[in-house]
């Protein structure tokens, strides 16, 4: 399993031709208290860089983009009852959705964890 990151602060963990997507620790720390998350329904088709989910803090709504193109397998139903999971465990239990990749070559443009850490340190 390999984890990649985007400049928009999503992470994607790839396992074969499927993957899990969420937002990073850095992203949740910038957003503050998460009070609502809207995840895509199974079967939804996502395009790399397109709107995939919504995360709302007390003060603002933010879009979560699809790191790669694909078809949604499952949205994280746990976020409906406990959106604060995105704060407490953003890179684990607070995942947003799982999808089937339609073009794994899209992963080539993403960062690995070392590159992402350097990117965040430069912000």
């Amino acid at each position: 399993m390999t984890r990649y990151f985007t400049e928009d602060h999503e992470w994607i963990e790839v396992n074969g031709d499927s993957a899990t997507v969420g937002i990073t620790h850095y992203a949740q720390s910038q957003l503050g208290d998460i009070v609502f998350a809207e995840v895509p329904a199974a079967g939804a088709t996502l395009k790399k860089g397109g709107d995939a989910a919504v995360v709302e803090s007390v003060k603002a709504a933010s879009d979560v983009y699809a790191p790669v193109s694909g078809t949604v397998i499952e949205g994280n139903a746990a976020l409906e009852g406990d959106p604060a999971l995105v704060n407490s465990d953003p890179e684990g239990e607070g995942w947003f959705f799982k999808l089937t990749l339609s073009d794994s070559s899209e992963l080539d443009s993403l960062m690995n964890s070392t590159a992402y850490q350097a990117f965040v340190d430069g912000l």
């Binding site: 928009d8 009070v35 007390v58 003060k59 603002a60 709504a61 979560v64």
Partner: protein, 382 residues
């Protein structure tokens, strides 16, 4: 992810307030607001909000304009531009009022206090320069407008604010809601006079303290050393005032609305209703007599998804309003909002829908405030 922030960036130089370094030392996240670097949060908006409702929160609101109007007849002159009975204010009494355009539109909301020198007026930071220009244009030349830029403004809010502040500034507990006075603070050999009012914008009991900018850090340090007090950012200030049903200027109130629409008819004093004679009084008194075409109301939101500023409001297929403030209410434990809704659809209990990202959400017109006010009123049973 991209953040659609509520706080707009200003293209001009961002200014620093006296407590800038103090906020950063306390771990604040700073944002640009009203042209200044301001703390939006320290430990987190929800925790800060709840702390203020249960204890005492210290807010830096030094971006707001502190104006002193002096000169003979200042109160009468100001009454041409505001709908409150300012002449009747006795020394140390204050009143919430509205600065009105010629057509009755609301240019700002403000606190006006009668002081020995004249009138002490606190206005919103984002429009303070416009306010000063407007006042200068419309007030007689004999009235002097002094912008007290050298003073900071701190708000200490919450049920334990009085316990903390009276330890630091003896005697402040004698004030009731909407009263103000001068109090000495510091060593007996070299006391500093502070101007303190029992007022605020959270719905809780509390105080607002005008202090020379040079002394702001020492006062903030001393207040935060009290066990009841933590520093609180603008994020919680916004959620607290929304739960308290208090309008945010520039969002819930703009030059496009007059006071009756803006649910601020209480700010039009009895004598002024009878006499008129203020900017836009024909339009405003007509709205008072016949009811406004639309009104600012509270909106309870079904479910957990926040309904925010700009969301259209529908009764069936017809749009009947728009949300002007909305978010999550930490003490309510649910999303809440305020917005303008047309006559015929704005009675408390009316079921409507708001549209968020193309989806309809059920909302209900609600009585304001969402969280009861806890002011220390004179004559109230406590």
């Amino acid at each position: 992810m991209s953040e659609e922030d509520d706080f707009e960036l200003e293209p001009i130089e961002i200014l620093e307030l006296p407590l800038d370094a103090w906020h950063r030392d306390k771990g604040a996240r700073m944002v640009e607001f009203a042209g200044y670097h301001m703390p939006i949060q320290y430990e987190g908006i929800i925790a800060e909000h709840i702390w203020t409702r249960e204890n005492a929160g210290l807010f830096d609101v030094s971006h707001m304009g502190q104006l002193m109007l002096t000169g003979d007849g200042a109160a009468q002159a100001l009454e041409a531009l505001v709908p409150g009975d300012i002449s009747a204010l006795s020394e140390g009494k204050m009143r919430y009022s509205l600065l009105l355009a010629e057509d009755g539109g609301v240019l700002d909301d403000m606190m006006i206090t009668a002081v020995p020198m004249g009138l002490y007026v606190v206005v919103n930071g984002a429009v303070k320069w416009d306010d000063m220009g407007y006042l200068r244009e419309y007030l007689p030349d004999e009235i002097t407008i002094n912008n007290m830029e050298d003073r900071a403004l701190l708000a200490l809010q919450g049920p334990k604010a009085v316990d903390a502040l009276k330890r630091v500034v003896p005697g402040v507990d004698a004030l009731y809601f909407m009263e103000a006075g001068s109090f000495f603070w510091g060593p007996k050999t070299d006391p500093e006079p502070l101007w303190i009012s029992r007022s605020g914008y959270t719905g809780e009991d509390g105080f607002e303290i005008s202090v020379p900018g040079t002394h702001a850090k020492a006062l903030a340090d001393q207040l935060c050393a009290q066990p009841e007090v933590k520093p609180i950012g603008l994020g919680a200030r916004d959620s607290l005032r929304l739960e308290a049903g208090l309008p945010l200027y520039g969002h819930d109130m703009t030059p496009d609305v007059e006071p009756v629409e803006a649910n601020a008819a209480f700010a039009i004093s009895k004598r002024r209703r009878a006499e008129g004679g203020f900017a836009g009084s024909d339009r405003i008194l007509n709205a008072l007599a016949n009811g406004p075409a639309r009104k600012l109301v509270g909106l309870s939101v079904e479910g957990k998804m926040p309904v925010r500023e700009g969301a259209p409001i529908f009764a069936g297929v017809a749009q009947v309003g728009v949300v002007t403030s909305g978010g999550f209410g930490p003490s309510v434990g649910a999303p809440i909002a305020m917005g303008y809704v047309d006559a015929g659809h704005n009675a408390s209990g009316t079921m409507l829908e708001a549209e968020v990202r193309g989806k309809r959400v059920s909302i209900t017109v609600a009585n304001l405030p969402f969280v009861p006010h806890h002011y220390h009123r004179k004559g109230a049973n406590i």
